[in-house]
């Protein structure tokens, strides 16, 4: 899906947990996330901390969208 949307002319960032799958399939901008059942959350944190975590991940996603890339790039820390 990531590739088709990019083909339509829109930059996409893939936020996902199993990064090797995203790389194999061919996403260009990838941000690794927390866990499969809660990629943008962590139920063991209290809601405030969880929001802070989610915010940090989304900021990384925005960074990925505003960074020129040559090929596939994983935006880790």
């Amino acid at each position: 899906m990531v590739k088709e949307i990019e083909r339509a002319g829109i930059p996409v960032v893939h936020m996902c947990t199993v990064v090797p799958i995203s790389l194999t399939v061919g996403a260009n901008r990838i941000v690794p996330t927390i866990a499969i059942p809660h990629p943008l959350g962590n139920p063991s944190l209290d809601p405030k901390e969880e929001k802070v975590l989610r915010r940090a991940l989304v900021e990384k996603a925005l960074k990925a969208l505003t960074t020129e890339v040559d090929g596939q790039t994983v935006f880790e820390d």
Partner: protein
Amino acid sequence: MGKIKVVHYINQFFAGIGGEEQAHIKPEVREEVVGPGMAINAGFKGEAEIVATIICGDSYFNENVEEAKAEILEMVKKYEPDLFIAGPAFNAGRYGVACGTIADAVQSELGIPSLTGMYIENPGADMFKKSVYIVSTKNSAAGMRDAVKKMVPLALKIAKGEEIGTPDEEGYIPRGIRKNYFTDKRGSQRAVEMLLKKLKGEEFETEFPMPDFDRVDPQPAVKDITKATIAIVTSGGIVPKGNPDHIESSSASKYGKYDIAEFDNLTSSTHETAHGGYDPVYANEDADRVIPVDVLREMEKEGKIGKLHRYFYTTVGNGTAVANAKKFAEEIGKELKEDGVDAVILTST
């Protein structure tokens, strides 16, 4: 050679321990034949024997690859098997990735011949077909008998160090290995014969299927994110509570487009997940954990992004055919472009 010793790897589901709610379990060993191992063992007819079964949760493996690999390699080493079999994983993505990863590791780090099986669209297949023998199976456990029928003879051949035939003959996914052989007709003749067939509109078989590179060039970065319209797309199956359009929990045949203009935050009373391939508890409690509407809305109010697009698009990525996912995203991409969306955040589970 005495009886061939085999160690078998399966996930929590095929071990009968549980479904998604047990996908986090750490590796354990049982000195017995478990689940699909029974059919495989029976197929060996005494020539080989499963001496131990290693069980691991699919989420645990995929979220802790290095630790899981290390733990499992230690377990395998203990039994000094002649052969290692993982799966079959059919179309279960995490399971296929785990099977491929561990079969590859056992082969390369312990020097023990390995075999696994999965459906051709399983992400594990593309990742490991070059390094591991992967038997091509049907896309669900309904294909267990067919899978075992192909895995057993190939397993015995690999264990005995016998010559392995072509993918068609042995039933494994083509590994991209080129083998020279002599043929009675020379290349120029075969080429002309193939061309004549093609010109006449007759059926012909290519001798070498061209690899499908299918890569997309990255789009240029967003110049000014504070003025950009960002849209959310997800394969995590988030839908309005009640799943009004009945998006399937697996093998989705459709996608949804839902209005979030009125939402600052998603809650357990407004949204849920339709996805049947991961433990839904956390997403049902708070769908923001899969699509970050709350954070993006905040950022919109603060002026960090221009706008959070009014609609989000969703489908269920569980076992959904690649061809369908492609079709959905083509339509979605077109609409988003027409609606003036500047960038997309696509989340997956």
